[in-house]
């Protein structure tokens, strides 16, 4: 689903899509190809059993459209605002084609592409922006065969999330349509290996400002685990233990 764009812009976008950058995996000790996904407790408990898969988010309102939203383990609490249960999984990024939208120049490329879409006016000037925005973001990823988008958090709590420094990931799963066309898959992701419930947060959050801010309900100000939390979670994952994080 993509209208005409100039060859120069298309070439610049293709040039901006590169290998998965390992630096976002660095836990301070070494790169760990692992992610964490926080979710409400009622979903999280199923990941205490082996054989589960992470769910692809497909409803409207997700930043980069239909994808599996995770955070590199190097940012162990960044997305804790979405639920009390942190599910950790391994992944093999291999030849993932990655669009790094944490770079302002790449954000500009996406915006330039968006502005040239035939339905851009509908996106900006009607009440249908959420749905059309999702369609267009999906199409941008599909057209350029993007396996992973890296982006800055767009929802936050100052004790957990840095909108300036943290990196979140939207990861594509692919499937073939009956027509043979490659499209984004729904259902459960095949990208992540052995997801396990590994972190439990004490804090509970609720939306403020329509979800832009996630306010802590307890904010007891308890001590954070000393040392390198990402490494502690990595060890806990491998040992089958659970890390508990005070509010």
């Amino acid at each position: 689903m993509s209208g005409p764009i100039g060859s120069e812009l298309e070439a610049r976008i293709r040039d901006a899509i590169g290998d998965f950058p390992e630096y976002v995996l660095d836990t301070g000790t070494q790169p760990r190809p692992m992610v964490i996904k926080y979710m409400p407790a009622r979903f999280g408990k199923t990941y205490h059993r082996p054989g589960q898969k992470l769910k692809i988010s497909e409803v409207r309102g997700f930043t980069w459209g239909q994808a599996t939203y995770v955070t590199p383990l190097a940012f162990p609490l960044s997305s804790g605002i979405f639920g009390r249960v942190g599910v950790v999984a391994r992944f093999e990024f291999g030849s993932w084609k990655t669009f790094d939208a944490t770079k302002p120049e790449n954000e500009q490329l996406y915006l330039a592409w968006l502005q040239r879409q035939p339905m851009f006016k509908d996106l900006m000037l009607t009440a249908h922006s959420a749905y059309l925005s999702q369609l267009l973001r999906d199409e941008f990823r599909r057209k350029f065969k993007i396996d992973c988008v890296l982006f800055r958090p767009d929802q936050s709590n100052r004790n957990y999330t840095s909108t300036r420094d943290d990196v979140w990931m939207a990861v594509s799963d692919w499937r073939r349509m009956p027509s043979g066309e490659r499209t984004l898959a729904d259902g459960f992701s095949e990208r992540f290996i052995d997801p396990r419930l590994t972190v439990v947060l004490e804090e509970e959050f609720e939306d403020q400002m329509g979800g832009i801010h996630r306010a802590g309900l307890l904010e007891l100000g308890g001590p954070r685990p000393a040392g390198n939390l990402a490494e502690e979670i990595w060890h806990a994952y491998n040992m089958g233990r659970i890390v508990r994080i005070p509010s």
């Binding site: 689903m1 993509s2 209208g3 005409p4 764009i5 100039g6 060859s7 120069e8 812009l9 409400p40 009622r42 979903f43 769910k55 988010s57 497909e58 409803v59 409207r60 309102g61 997700f62 040239r116 879409q117 035939p118 339905m119 509908d122 009607t126 249908h128 959420a130 749905y131 059309l132 369609l135 499937r175 349509m177 009956p178 027509s179 043979g180 066309e181 499209t183 729904d186 259902g187 459960f188 939306d207 979800g211």
Partner: protein, 247 residues
């Protein structure tokens, strides 16, 4: 009314209506996909529901784009009558875009159901070379309509029926607006089947909406900021004249 849809309506509202919030939408999306895994027969029956025009109000309107997209990947598109009724039910571009996408995909070669006749089989003679035989009598009005239909380029049955109605409403502002709107959707979809349909609309013999379609597509190409070579290629692909020359 389809009984399964009647029962599913409340569930799908919780899954697709943004008013319930992402967390609720996601919870029901998770339940839905779990049900698909647990009961493959359910998936099959839900993807092939027979829908008629009367079923348009069976689901909350926000559920239809999701359902049409999901169904396109898991079954075959619903009937043309249903798609037509849904298109007419609302002016919402998100819904209308999803209808056009379903309608166009229906005829995409690899997915064309075996029981569907070729797009205009009922109109096409064995000798379709364009050499019209003299019958010795002026055609009656019904013959004239049939003759006009026979000469049309538009193969997609949904698009053909809809534009035929535009022809019958020649000069009506509504027909012009619909033609322009459909052209925008086809250009936005941008897949081979959509562009082929758009080209057919442009190349069709003069019909009430053709001028509007041509103007709309020329405007989008002009506003897309394309380099000359890309713009020329797009116009040639769609059968449009280039400024200062011919296609």
């Amino acid at each position: 009314m389809n009984g399964l849809l009647a029962i599913a309506a409340a569930f799908l509202d919780l899954m697709t209506n943004p008013q319930h919030g992402i967390e609720v939408n996601e919870e029901y999306s998770l339940r839905f996909h779990q049900a698909l895994i647990d009961d493959p027969e359910f998936a099959n029956s839900f993807a092939t529901l027979a829908l008629s025009a009367e079923d348009v109000e069976s689901l909350p309107i926000c559920a239809w784009p999701w359902y049409l997209q999901w169904r396109a990947g898991n079954g075959s598109p619903p009937s043309r009558d249903f798609l037509d009724a849904l298109f007419d039910y609302t002016d919402d571009p998100a819904i209308r875009l999803s209808v056009v996408r379903s309608a166009v995909w229906e005829e995409y070669p690899a997915s064309t159901p075996a029981d569907h006749p070729p797009a205009d089989a009922e109109h096409r003679s064995d000798d379709d070379s364009g050499d019209r035989r003299f019958t010795g009598a002026d055609p009656q009005p019904s013959d004239a309509v049939a003759e006009r239909e026979r000469r049309r380029n538009v193969q997609n049955p949904w698009l053909r029926a809809r534009t035929t109605r535009m022809v019958s409403a020649a000069g009506a502002a509504r027909g012009q607006a619909d033609a322009s709107e459909i052209a925008t959707y086809l250009l936005q979809l941008g897949d081979p089947a959509s562009l082929e349909s758009l080209r057919a609309l442009i190349q069709d013999e003069p019909w009430a909406g053709r001028e509007s379609v041509v103007a709309t597509v020329q405007r989008h190409i002009a506003e897309a900021g394309l380099d000359r070579e890309t713009a020329t290629r797009w116009r040639a692909q769609l059968g449009l004249a280039n400024p200062g020359g011919t296609a």
